[in-house]
Symmetry: C2
Subunit: 187 residues, 2 copies
Amino acid sequence: MLPEKHIPALILIDLQIAIDDPVWGPRNNPDAEDKLRHLLDAWRDAGASVYHVRHDSLEPQSPYRPGQPGNAFKPEAAPVAGEPIVPKTTNSAFIGTDLEERLRRSGHNSVVMAGVLTSNSLEMSVRHGGNLGFDVRVVSDASWDVDTTDLDGRIWPAADVHALSLARINGEYARVISTAQALEFVR
Amino acid sequence: MLPEKHIPALILIDLQIAIDDPVWGPRNNPDAEDKLRHLLDAWRDAGASVYHVRHDSLEPQSPYRPGQPGNAFKPEAAPVAGEPIVPKTTNSAFIGTDLEERLRRSGHNSVVMAGVLTSNSLEMSVRHGGNLGFDVRVVSDASWDVDTTDLDGRIWPAADVHALSLARINGEYARVISTAQALEFVR
């Protein structure tokens, strides 16, 4: 196994109860929570760094708003003692947070990111991390998206939104990998 | 007409000769350059602010690299004397640049953005501007995208990539408008 500081930090985005609210519509990757559990178990067993980015929405109606039950972490991805929580109020995990500073201070140039929604806060955080110079991997099967209606009224299935989001990220901002590939970092 | 400082700043992204390189593949919105000319004429006639974001790629093979003919602005969108050029080396117009500081200093909380590619540097700059708290409009018909192959080998036509990019931006990071709607700001 690589020394801890050479294992990329695992950064989980917005994995809170709120994302299960029916308001977001149908999703893809129903097995993503299982994959997330595998990732967390492996990172914890290796003593490697895990960051839990939590969305504290400023929107009065959002299920992600602090004080709402949806603001709590999903049980499959909840932090354990000692794992830092990074609260944010925008989509990017790097705006209004100390995530960049924490990663630089701990010598983490490489990160593995997963979470929700692929094309929204995950994609924004991945793009931002890549543009800040971090070597970013995104775990495709530990993330998911939802059906999306475009400005002409066309409905895009969640799996298509997810696929196109990853296609645009890959090679330009990050590298897209599977859970199986991510687990190799800690083996 | 609104006083100059109440007209949103027009921010054009990466409109350089390099984007016409065949390496990027087929595009949509062939009339976008005409729309850009209308926008520039109107902003200039109103004495309103225009910023030209220029991509100075660090990739040795990129047609956007400084010193390559592709680094020059496209004639339809070239700056005139007095219009600031904002050089950048990543996708976001807000990373490693003074754009945020310039906008705040000049009291521009609202911006109108257009350029290329919709789902790449334009989208990243729009997302980043929105997350920084700017009121961002994106001009759909003065921007374009290119055919994109996803990780399963499926080819997405440029118009679809453009449409889905705007669908994900709209309401979350920015408001998507047409050139005709943008021109109302300076009428």
